[in-house]
Subunit: 472 residues, 2 copies
């Protein structure tokens, strides 16, 4: 099925997504306009959406009106921000005042609270165009929606930010908002060839979605410049979560910073990874060394080994924390509408209801230890690096009636649990192709180093040759 999606086979050197920052310079003199930009997005959506299925709702009429207003602002030199007029997709977990918020869950069909999530509020203040709601796996979990990978219709785009990932990859929008608890921003970015930022815990305001302790909201984009610009325009207006200072950094994309040393972390993902993807990352690390960089591994320092060991059961710890935190909320939902909730979610709920507060406290202690071990690695190198996802996106053609549920139809966040536990910023950089599909590389900084990681991602992307590995 390789290359059977709208975009065909992926080559990280050739692929060019839809950038806003390259175009917005033409808005002032009228040689291009937000309205014209939007119309091109709508044309792409009309052509690709029947296959990609990235959106659950679209606001074409309101978007056109917003684009016309933005066009007038740019022509008057009164644009509200650098992303004034940028069409953006919003993951359908976040509330929007003009579209329902159904969260990929039958029980929320028709749910329409008529509020803007804090981040949506900030984006509108910046003049961005809230074009539509993107498909999410059910309640941000693992039960998938209909979205397909734009590079191969038989494969998942990843999840739970499935629609945001696919909409950016398919050039429908220059940026879209995702959210991550286990690996729901970085993994689909890796599978779809996007840039993406999972901000430091608390770095970007989650609005009404504050009921889990390790979730974050962040942008997917086709360029690092648009990714950063969206993040900083949000942060400068709404800040971070309650009690957090919020993401800080320059109001324009940070200039590249060359990392001298990177720590390669295996996480739980490396041991079972396919050989082609291993070769791809190892080759990229060799390119980095050939450019004068140094790569440290678990054998090189006791602190790195300690972090690997402290996160050797990150999947179990992270999943247990989040399942427990969602327990009362999901119980309410199942009590209210059992038929409207997937069997996958009910399995998770049953496991959570077998936990005690003491079990949860134990998980929090393991998370605290992982964070201590992570911080202890800070003096050793500029950042950590690993894959964004366990190789190319897996094939997913739907549940088979009568068969056991596939545990991870949107792919396994094995490379994400350890870095999600840390609460640290992660940037996914599209620098690898395996079997004609994107495989992202994840750059991980210490807490609140979001801008620094973006700057180092820029340097790597500009200076290190990407890697293509064919199928076995």
């Amino acid at each position: 099925m390789q290359g059977s999606g709208a975009l065909g086979s992926y080559d990280p050197e050739q692929f060019q997504g839809l950038c806003f920052h390259q175009i917005s310079g033409k808005f002032a003199d009228g040689s291009d306009s937000p309205r014209a930009f939007l119309e091109r997005c709508l044309d792409t959506i009309a052509a690709s959406e029947p296959t990609v299925q990235a959106f659950v709702s679209l606001q074409e009429t309101a978007a056109r009106a917003a684009a016309d207003a933005s066009t007038a602002r740019w022509q008057a030199g009164q644009q509200l921000s650098a992303i004034d007029g940028m069409p953006i997709g919003i993951k359908d977990l976040l509330e929007t005042k003009d579209m329902p918020t159904e969260m990929g869950c039958e029980a929320y069909r028709g749910n329409f609270p008529k509020n803007d999530n804090a981040m949506v509020w900030a984006l509108r203040q910046a003049g961005a165009i809230i074009l539509g709601k993107t498909v999410t796996a059910e309640l941000g979990g693992s039960h998938p929606g209909p979205t397909t990978n734009p590079f191969d219709v038989s494969r998942t785009p990843g999840g739970s930010s499935s629609g945001s990932a696919a909409a950016v990859a398919a050039k429908m929008v220059p940026a879209a908002i995702g959210s991550q608890v286990g690996g729901s921003i970085i993994r689909p970015a890796g599978y779809c060839g996007n840039f993406a930022l999972k901000p430091s815990q608390g770095g970007l305001h989650r609005g009404e979605r504050q009921t889990t302790s390790m979730s974050t909201h962040g942008p997917h984009a086709a360029s690092l410049e648009d990714m950063w610009q969206v993040a900083i325009e949000i942060a400068s207006r709404i800040g971070g979560d309650p009690g957090y200072p919020g993401l800080t950094g320059p109001m324009t994309p940070p200039p590249p910073i060359r990392p001298e040393k990177l720590i390669f972390i295996e996480t739980e993902g490396w041991a079972t990874l396919d050989p082609q993807s291993k070769t791809a990352l190892e080759t990229l690390l060799t390119h980095f060394e050939q450019a004068g960089g140094q790569v440290l591994r678990r054998v090189d320092h006791a602190a790195i080994e300690a972090f690997e060991q402290a996160t050797s059961n990150a999947k179990q710890v992270a999943n247990a924390i989040t399942a427990f935190e969602n327990r009362w909320n999901h119980r309410n939902l199942v009590d209210r509408d059992a038929a409207g909730v997937s069997a996958r979610l009910k399995q998770t709920l049953a496991a959570a209801e077998a936990m005690t507060p003491a079990d949860y406290q134990n998980c929090l202690q393991q998370r605290a230890r992982a964070r201590d071990c992570f911080a202890a690695c800070a003096p050793l190198a500029d950042a950590m690096i690993t894959l964004s996802c366990p190789g190319p996106a897996p094939v997913w053609l739907g549940d088979v009636p009568g068969q056991p549920l596939a545990p991870r139809p949107t792919g396994d966040p094995l490379f994400n649990f350890a870095t999600s536990l840390t609460g640290a910023p992660c940037v996914s950089v599209p620098m690898l192709a395996v079997d004609g599909m994107p495989v992202g590389v994840q750059l991980i900084g210490q807490v609140n180093e979001d801008a620094r990681m973006t700057a180092m991602a820029a340097w790597l992307h500009q200076n290190i040759a990407p890697v293509r590995v064919a199928a076995a």
Copy 2:
């Protein structure tokens, strides 16, 4: 107007509220029962509610069914907890699956999400009877509901937990749940003669109400035993907020612990306090010293002076933090239904919308400094002590059309802002009467010393003579 409420003039030595723990021992042999207990509560409500106006909704039929089920469990020796069968009121900010959640706000009239807040979920698991929703000031702010002080109908019960405070004082229920951001648990407890616990920040799960960083939910009760039991039964089932270990302590009320040294803190409240209330607290502190205790003040140690100074603008800092955190949410509300929101709340929103993320970060830094200064006082004494409220509850007879809005119709949280900023546990103890009205005393521990403060409150209440001071 003194003594014109249902209960007449208040005497801390004579007043006896409605206790559950003293009665539940009779449930096993059938000499009393949860159903009979409930019927007595309903009788009291029928008699007093027309004046007190503590409830916005009552579930009498469901409560009777729940009480019958509890009666059967006790008689079979299968009670779910020590509070099985306890009728409880829930502040109408918290969601309940069988009653609307209108939050004292016209814009939420008819709001009925059909979910149980995490704490309500835990209370039902413990067999408690969710009897009704209690009046809250609008959205937990300062715009008051109709509730009157049970000791004087012309006075406020305090707020924003107005109905929970009044329902317990009026002996309608043995316990009720309140919530505090500035001073909304401790202040009304002080005005109404209740015991109350504002738990350590994050100590008791706030459920869907996670969008401000210094709010807590906690019980009012007529006895310290019931107060603790309600708190620990909740914590043992649902734990704390996401990411927090949650309140811990014994599964029965902790035995009294004698404090040797107490730090008296003035806060912003002392300078403008009425002379009678000053005399009342000073006399109580003298009683403590006569019993062998030691009282430290700001003149006695630089660390205490530093804490007083670090919280000398606690009112401004605390209000700014919360107003900023509510900004996007209140903007959504006003955009949706401007007529359904009070002028008071709109004033707060306007001030919040003039703030920048940098202003907010500055407030967070001041809060962090207050917390550091607070922790620095820990080695000096067993606890801090001050008033729960600035003297007896003020008279409040309603806004006067055409006049400026009274800034604080539910009383001023001047004694609460400093302790709310710390995130530390506070226990209100009813040990003072001024002008025939209750004035609470607030015992403040270091973070997670909730059980220890409850134990010291027990010692003070049992061993130190309460104080009555007449009107000037």
